[in-house]
């Protein structure tokens, strides 16, 4: 029979790590989505030339490996004397990283709303803001949701990289236990299971929404 020396308090230790993973992911996805919405609308509404500086910066965040971004940002904030705790640095960098992807999702979704639909809205007397609020965003949301869910799940797992700044999140908690208990296979299995338990509700929530919307089409 299978035996392990892992105790309940070890499991609680992993749960605490999972809490850190959730916290970092929450701030990264929330911040990243808010920025992504703003940048995405800008990218969709102004000319590509005028948006070039923004596009360039976001491309940097999408192209440079997240690990390098985290380590460099942490070093730079220390040199600049900002004295940010690693948690804040992690959340900010992950949020920017998320926003770079989210911007493209939002831009693509807005572009997917047919021009004639927007013209119809404007010709009824709706202002640009009303057109955006009542017509463009609801329609774009349906296009963006699957990609946005994918992005959130990606960030949940990428957030493990913040262990390089000394944060004890889920994966790092697992590593500590492996060092102590010397049961790498079993512990990684448990850690993987916890990641799955965190991701699964998000994925299900997404497909539920999609299903409900599809019934209307």
């Amino acid at each position: 029979m299978f035996e392990t020396s892992m105790t309940l308090s070890d499991l609680m230790f992993l749960a605490k790590g999972a809490g850190m993973t959730i916290a970092v992911t929450f701030f990264a996805v929330t911040g990243g989505t808010v920025m992504g919405l703003l940048f995405g609308v800008i990218r969709a509404q102004i000319s590509p030339w005028a948006a070039l500086p923004l596009t360039f910066v976001l491309d940097v965040f999408r192209s440079v490996p997240l690990l390098i971004q985290l380590v460099l940002a942490n070093a730079f904030q220390a040199i600049a004397g900002l004295n940010l705790p690693p948690f804040a640095t992690s959340c900010i960098i992950l949020a920017l990283y998320t926003s770079a992807y989210c911007t493209e999702i939002v831009r693509g979704a807005i572009d997917a709303v047919p021009m004639v639909t927007r013209r119809a809205a404007r010709s009824l007397g709706l202002s640009w803001g009303q057109d955006m609020t009542y017509v463009v965003f609801p329609m774009a949301l349906r296009v963006a949701l699957p990609s946005w869910i994918g992005l959130t799940l990606g960030v949940l797992k990428d957030s493990a990289l913040v262990l390089w700044l000394g944060l004890i999140e889920l994966l790092r908690s697992g590593q500590i236990l492996v060092t102590r208990l010397q049961e790498p296979m079993f512990i990684l299995l448990v850690v993987g299971l916890i990641y799955f338990l965190l991701s699964f509700p998000i994925a299900r929530f997404g497909s539920q929404l999609e299903k409900r919307w599809r019934e209307n089409d």
Binding site: R119, A120, S123, G125, L126, Q130, R142, N216
Partner: protein, 241 residues
């Protein structure tokens, strides 16, 4: 009254309107016919300010559409437009499609807007489709919904841009009947159309556009019985043959 005075309009180097003059009186139905690329659809989108013009002026009840000081959102309340392509808001029910603008633009209460929408939808024969999403409607029903949506704003003018062109032939009739009903009610209408029977029977005057110029305009009987301009004659004989 809609007054179009010497309007020029280009897309880049392509001149689509070359000095159009047209006055449409209150209660009048004017049909605009012509080949594709003759500028007739562009004229409609210029009238409600969706497209800028290069020179000339368009006045709706004395208000210049393209003046910088004109509040287009306000002006568009009295100019309805229905497009060729279906443009329902797919995430809203038929009823919500029609109540959106009255509620958000005119600030009506929900029951108030719904009462008007239900009346307009019944008028176009969609009284039993209120809770349905547009994706479930046929093309003809979608166009009739678009007409009801425009009418719910109680516009004084309605512009129709080839509203039957994207429809299957068997659905054209139901939409034209709706337009006829509207004309009988005394609505001021400009209809860009390829339906010659409709143009002849329903409109007061018919205009023929050719390469960005209004080649001819005449009362509909005269227009079809004795077209003056050689291009009009050619166009009509091509259609009849």
């Amino acid at each position: 009254m809609i007054e179009i005075k010497d309007v020029y309009k280009s897309f880049g180097t392509l001149e689509v309107l070359k000095g159009i003059n047209l006055t449409v009186e209150k209660g009048e139905v004017v049909s605009v016919i012509g080949g594709s690329g003759s500028g007739k659809s562009t004229l409609l989108t210029c009238i409600n300010g969706l497209e800028p013009i290069n020179s000339g002026s368009i006045l709706v009840d004395g208000v210049e559409v393209h003046a910088k000081t004109t509040d287009l959102n306000k002006l568009r309340r009295k100019i309805g437009i229905v497009f060729q392509q279906f443009n329902a808001f797919p995430h809203l029910t038929v009823l919500e499609n029609v109540t959106l603008a009255p509620r958000k633009v005119l600030g009506m209460s929900k029951p108030e807007a719904e009462a008007i929408a239900e009346k307009q939808l019944a008028h176009v024969g969609l009284g039993d489709k209120l809770a349905v999403y547009p994706g479930r409607l046929s093309g003809g029903q979608q166009q009739r919904m678009a007409i009801a949506r425009a009418l719910a704003m109680s516009p004084e003018y309605v512009l129709f841009d080839e509203v039957t062109s994207a429809l299957d032939p068997q659905l054209v009739g139901e939409v034209l009947d709706t337009l006829k009903l509207l004309a009988d009610d005394g609505m001021t209408m400009i209809c860009v159309t390829h339906e010659m029977t409709f143009a002849r029977d329903v409109s007061d005057r018919v205009a023929f556009f050719h390469k960005g110029i209004m080649a001819e305009i005449a009362p509909s009987k005269e227009f079809f019985n004795a077209p003056q301009h050689p291009e009009t004659q050619k166009f009509l004989s091509n259609i009849r043959s």
